[in-house]
């Protein structure tokens, strides 16, 4: 551990230039000792450029009051977060400070220079040892477990340890805090003996890779949003990007996914967005019950909250903090879902720093390395196999869904384009659909998913045999229907043939009853996979039915009626008596008229 000192040479916004003597690491953390009267604080900062005996640091706080010559103390450590039990149901800032405790500690406003341990030091956990004394283990192997929320939280050999370790001593089963020693191990490469606790610090900008191998994502991550699950499915361990102009329903979409997606752990990274949105999650989740587990939703959720008015450098760190937490839970064989909202604000934070470093700007003044940083971030997602000598082999995953806030709603801008190049699924929100109140406003034409073919086996197992074909048929049908709609705008309804008109109505019907979904309705907000399968089948049959309409009015009337019945069915719970009645009416509409009478 080095204990280098330095002195401030320059300040510009949240960037500080520091002269130093010893050796300094890239991305090393340092504290700037600010002494302004009765206000003595240490401001956290990170080295982002080294030139000669000077380094530039981004400060995670307001820099007012820093002088030329202010002392800087280098820690020798990279920017890290504490991993261990107790992360779930907590809200942290971008650096891993628990926000509730910060408020208890320093009041309603975020006082600068106050840092608290990420993990609660007093909470007691029920420890069950897994590893045995004398056993040789590698990084990532479980030493023991403690129950956290719904699963056994694995306390693992620190990921940073190189080579094997030998377990010298193990704590017996019982109650411990995270700070208690739970094992004593010997690092075989160096001979060093180390006492381990449940706390493992990990540098956030370094991916956790203590798994056996990466696997090809071949299973869907069910979001319970119909248009996504059917037409543009996201793979477990895959990546998706959700760009959309303001007011296109990004927030509602993101909140829906965080509530209903079938993941074990959900990490919500509110990166540079409104604080008000986080508050809804914060206040609502403890009240909401996860229908699959019967437990409160907050128990599976971690919120990383670095909202727009919080320091911009900590915003840059927040997405890394969030993905590190996701990777940590993946190591336990769990399905982690990371929702990063919004990656544009992260990119803007990079742009601000790049500007202060006076780097040569790329497009729209974003740094030239924007694309590679975005790629590296999304590449931290993935499905992996973990094999533990004592617990056996499992799979774990990190699925990343990032929202993008394109300037002016224009998808040609650098952040959207760099993101599209690296993700497996694109869910484009459009003004046109949100103005028409067709929510979720995901464009059925422009969006795409690379996963649908790759996952066809598991999709057909989950829904029904022929699912992929049906989806593709309907997608083509919808696209053709849109073209007819455009044509109709030019030539008018009168000059359109009856068949084309019926096709158009069918496409609109598909949109109204399947692609659109009411996020605020308790039933329609989260249909089960069985129900979605039934919906899709029924929609397809109704559209492809030989209606033999005699004129356009009759066609229009029939589809209007079907739409209204189907939408009523969408919001009717399975247990309700009307559920079957509405289904029967939809089925009945396809029977010959004489038998229906």
């Amino acid at each position: 551990m080095s204990s280098n000192q330095g002195k401030v040479l320059g300040v510009s916004g949240n960037m500080v230039t520091v002269a130093f003597d010893g050796n300094v690491k890239m991305n090393e953390v340092a504290f700037i000792s600010l002494d302004s009267g009765d206000d003595q604080v240490q401001l956290k900062a990170e080295v982002i450029r080294i030139r000669g005996r000077e380094c530039d640091m981004q400060v995670f706080e307001d820099t007012r009051g820093i002088h030329i010559g202010t002392e800087v103390h280098f820690t020798g450590e990279l920017l890290a977060i504490e991993l261990g039990p107790g992360l779930l149901s907590t809200t942290y800032d971008g650096l891993g400070n628990p926000l509730d405790e910060l408020a208890d500690n320093s009041g309603l406003f975020l006082k600068r220079g106050v840092y608290l341990p990420t993990l609660n030091r007093t909470k007691v956990w029920q420890w069950t040892p897994v590893a045995r004394v004398g056993q040789r283990l590698r990084a990532g192997a479980a030493l023991g477990t403690v129950p956290e929320a719904l699963f056994e939280h694995r306390v693992m050999v620190p990921f940073g340890i190189v080579g094997a370790i030998e377990v010298l001593e193990m704590a017996v089963a019982g109650s411990y805090t995270v700070a208690d020693t739970i094992a004593k191990v010997k690092l075989l490469q160096t001979g060093e003996v180390r006492e381990l606790t449940m706390v493992m610090p990990w540098p956030v900008k370094r991916p956790i890779d203590a798994y056996e191998q990466r696997l090809l994502p071949e299973r869907p991550l069910t979001t319970r949003i119909r248009i996504v699950d059917a037409f543009f499915p996201v793979a477990e361990g895959g990546t998706a990007c959700v760009p959309g102009p303001f007011g296109s329903g990004k927030t509602v979409f993101q909140q829906g996914v965080s509530k209903y997606a079938e993941a074990d752990v959900v990490i919500v990274a509110a990166c540079g967005e409104r604080a008000g949105e986080v508050v809804e999650t914060l206040r609502e989740f403890p009240e909401l019950i996860d229908p699959r587990t019967g437990r409160s939703l907050i128990e599976r959720t971690i919120i990383i909250c670095n909202t727009s008015s919080m320091p911009v450098a900590a915003r840059e760190a927040s997405v890394y903090t969030a993905v590190t937490l996701a990777e940590y839970y993946r190591q336990m064989g769990l399905r982690a879902l990371l929702l990063a909202d919004s990656t544009s604000r992260w990119a803007q934070a990079l742009r601000e720093m790049s500007g202060r470093l006076e780097e040569i700007p790329g497009e729209e003044a974003f740094p030239a390395y924007l694309g590679s940083l975005i790629a590296a971030f999304y590449e931290r997602a993935g499905l992996v196999r973990i094999s533990d000598p004592n617990l056996g082999s499992t799979e774990g995953s990190v699925t990343t869904i990032g929202t993008v806030s394109p300037a002016g709603g224009n998808f040609e801008e650098p952040v959207t384009q760099s993101t599209l190049a690296v993700v497996g699924c694109f869910l484009g929100l459009t003004y046109a659909r949100s103005y028409a109140k067709r929510f979720p406003a995901i464009s059925p034409i422009d969006s795409w998913s690379n996963y649908i073919d790759r996952m066809s086996d598991s999709l057909e197992k989950q829904y029904f045999i022929g699912w992929v074909d049906t989806v593709k048929r309907l997608a083509a049908f919808y696209a053709a229907g849109q073209r007819i709609g455009d044509q109709m705008k030019v030539v008018g309804e009168e000059d359109l043939g009856l068949d084309d008109f019926v096709h158009f109505l069918g496409a609109e019907f598909l949109d109204a009853v399947f692609l659109q979904q009411n996020a605020f309705d308790p039933v329609d907000a989260s249909p089960s996979a069985e129900r979605t399968a039934l919906s899709l089948q029924l929609t397809a049959r109704l559209i492809e039915h030989e209606w033999n309409f005699s004129n356009k009015d009759q066609a229009r009337e029939t589809f209007t009626q079907l739409t209204s019945i189907f939408r009523d069915w969408n919001i009717t719970a399975v247990q309700a008596p009307e559920y079957q009645q509405l289904l029967d009416r939809l089925e009945g509409s396809m029977k010959p008229v004489d038998s229906a009478a």
């Binding site: 303001f246 008000g276 008015s309």
Partner: protein
Amino acid sequence: MRKVYTHIDQIVGPVVTLKANNIAYGELARIRLGDGNETYAQVIKLRGDEVTLQVFAGSKGISTGDEVEFLGRQVQLKFSADDLLGRTFNGVGEPVDGRPALQDCEDVDIGGPSFNPARRIIPSQMIQTGIPMIDMFNTLVKSQKLPIFSVAGEPYNELLARIALQAEADVIVLGGMGLKYDDYLFFQRQLVPSKDRTILFVHTAADPVVECMMVPDMALAAAEKYATDGKDVLVLLTDMTAYADAMKEVAVAMEQIPANRGYPGDLYSQLAARYEKAVDIQGSGSITLLAVTTMPGDDVTHPVPDNTGYITEGQFYLKGGVIDPFGSLSRLKQLVNKKTREDHAPLMNAMIRLYDASRKVRQQQSMGFSISSFDQAVLAYGADFEARMMDLKVNLLLDEQLDMGWKILAEHFTPAQTMLPGKLIESYWPKGD
């Protein structure tokens, strides 16, 4: 110990550079001009012994030999809960209403830290403004932040003045940026009746650009003091585009690399830091923020309105002298609309639907289509809706607005034509007369 320097090395736009030692980032300095006048400046960059200052009054007339004194403190607002009310200040917090400076006041740092998100609560109370297009159709909610998107020539300042007079709030803080002097005088005259609860921070178009950048911080620092003291504060800012332009001007003078149309790369963060001051403090007061944002060329994708739209909780569009009911949106209105009156939400939707119909009929009529008798009714309704609901001069309480809504519907339609639920028709449809 006062630090005084007498040589300025560089003067570019409102930014000056000199050599000085032991200066803090953000520190305030006083520049004594040759003619005896004084101006203030703030440290915006330090590099070795080179100190860069932004001069509040601009650099006009500053000599390389002028005396610069560093004051050892940050920019502060002089705050006194009682004495601030009814006063007018410039962007630096000096009184400009001809009355004496404040006595016995507290010095408050401006641009203070962010409110802890974990201590925020879900907004739940409406703020009545007396304006139907707000109260009834896009309800303003306590702690909400909303821009008024508009274009030059629209009566946005008239609208703000009206809100300042009518809105339910304990304290109104008005921040004017780049105001025409006439508008400044207009505000002063209009706000006389509410002067016991109103504070003005004003930067006029002819004032130095750096002062413009201070206005929102001054206004919000004052608001934050009142809010933590249990007061419900409404902050009205006009015009945020002038504020953004001032930032652009200083950034360019500092040779910063511009991001989009010349604006600095931190435009979003800077705007958000101000808008996020809006808050509802549990068990105490609140800050609600309405900010005029003029859209150059009526283009909502211009960087200022675009970034604003991502930050705020909806927007009002002021177009053709009225608040447009279609583009405008209060994202928080559903949090309060259920608590007002049972007919509020359905009546609002029915009226908007019919008004939308009237616009379509008007279009068809102008294209020479023949129109039915129902269409005639819709047309007449549309004109009536505009005159009695949309006109900015209408000033009614929410209950009166809703009653007026039923009255207008009854004058033009049968109950069935409105498609409102029977239960509501029974209770609210005007009877007999």
